[in-house]
Symmetry: C2
Amino acid sequence: MTMRVSSMASPLKQAFSNLAGPAGRRSFATGTRLETNYGFIGLGQMGYPMARNLRSKIAKTDTMYVHDVNPAMSEQLEKEVGNVKVVQSVREIAENSEIILTVLPAPHHVQNVFQQMLKGSAKTSTTRDRLFIDCSTIDPKSSAGVANATHSSGQGKFVDAPMSGGAVGAAAGTLTFMLGSSPDLVPRVTEVLKCMGKRVVHMGPQTSGLKGKLANNYLLALNNIATCEAMNMGVKWGLDPTTLTDMINTATGKCWPSEVNNPVPGVVENSPASKDYKPGFGTALMLKDLKLALQAAAEANVTPQLGEHAKNIYAAVAEDEKCKDRDFSVVYRYIGGKE
Amino acid sequence: MTMRVSSMASPLKQAFSNLAGPAGRRSFATGTRLETNYGFIGLGQMGYPMARNLRSKIAKTDTMYVHDVNPAMSEQLEKEVGNVKVVQSVREIAENSEIILTVLPAPHHVQNVFQQMLKGSAKTSTTRDRLFIDCSTIDPKSSAGVANATHSSGQGKFVDAPMSGGAVGAAAGTLTFMLGSSPDLVPRVTEVLKCMGKRVVHMGPQTSGLKGKLANNYLLALNNIATCEAMNMGVKWGLDPTTLTDMINTATGKCWPSEVNNPVPGVVENSPASKDYKPGFGTALMLKDLKLALQAAAEANVTPQLGEHAKNIYAAVAEDEKCKDRDFSVVYRYIGGKE
């Protein structure tokens, strides 16, 4: 049985669209799945494994355009997974894709990329449903600016979806995404993100994903230093670090840095600390997120007390010869912890 | 069958002793359980419910002597549970008890009480096995001093066993005890403490229980402020506090203050925050433990950075009209959190 597209009521279209697998669409003429063009910009430590997972989960007939400022990354991905189209500019991504993911380091990268992408019109038959999913961790104000520019250009919808889970989660496809999005886009965005993670939490309207991530990472930044200090204290007092950790993890001190990312070498097998603080989550990234949180807090007239002190500690750790470029649990080494 | 006490080898005596139920002893002439005299000093917010639980768990034929500086507390306990002997001095406790528990507020209280107790000789037939269990949270150095005085007086053995779980845990008998003790005493001490808690963790030699508790509470003090600040930030940014909490609790920010003792009213049912910050764990107690941790850290040449700042925050909260005498999660109110 065939039906004419024009005769379909909008809710039915929506239902069909939701049935089409990862963010795909169905042809209303034939009932078959329409091919989808994906774009992926930013193949760094997080973006590269995410792109690899996305490519492996979408239909083989779907096209995936990729771009990175470093052409070697795109070439490596093409070599590793095949079936991607390496393009030389983000403009080409914008012109050819309906679903575009960006995983970039800082606000100005996101702003620049979108400025280029929004300059021209898309070649796709319709831009009405075009979806921009920004997984970068940037400040909410910059994100809102890019979202507004995108929406007022009429070129598509913009959502923020920063992730947690680190490079390990990105490789394993077990990331958690914090989504800031209008409610109607949540099912479609979730389908895409589930190709790269196991969980998508809708935090509220656009910018809410970033706000959630920054609040979480602010807490993490402090809990990590607190754990390093408490463990250092206990060990200097003569306690066995494993006995102390076991007790804390059944008591009120329990937290992610004590349980999963314990800063004392040998306490948690395969933790960064047990591998000479190989990241993990680099100190520079922790410092970056903490600064973003403090900036966003200041914009809301909130001045966190401990956060400012923590920022100074991470800044010093990031400059320290024995600590730089290592997992943020290396604060334990920085404060003179016994290894 | 009867056997003569004098004919029993020491290890066998020990084995019999271990079989006798909560810290009791058996008559080697009859095989029946010998009555034990308990002493309990300090019937405050923690001590009172602990004494009540201990009385309900030991044999009805055991005697329990109780004392508090405030005679009204002893009388109330006698009225409530019966079967306790209220005495007017700690000396009387010392003279009549084989197992003596102390739950006191500060180092000088513990020092004074032991000075009085160790002055004379005990009336009990033997002081060789007399056991002093100090559940007070004091600094390890003071505790070591009292332990040394006790041991050199030949009047018994001293262990430190501070607890976590708060007034709620004390009432429910679900406390966790952190035990600093020589290994040979652990089974006997554990039997007694299990009458008042569900878990006893042997942290190492005498003072190790206190060291464990102070390290844990140092961590808790910081994690609590961090949680208050992160939640305040998120709420000021417009996030729903329950959505934010749910996300944090499945992410890297998860900690006891976010999960169990969330500082935003209404997020966790029956939390202190949801009951106008009714303690719970009072800010003054948190401040006390934090100061003890900082003192002990300084004695080990450790100077925690964030801890000093946290101390100033709790000191200010404890003086604040809207916050004093409330649960330590009231830091959220102190920093201007939206309730």
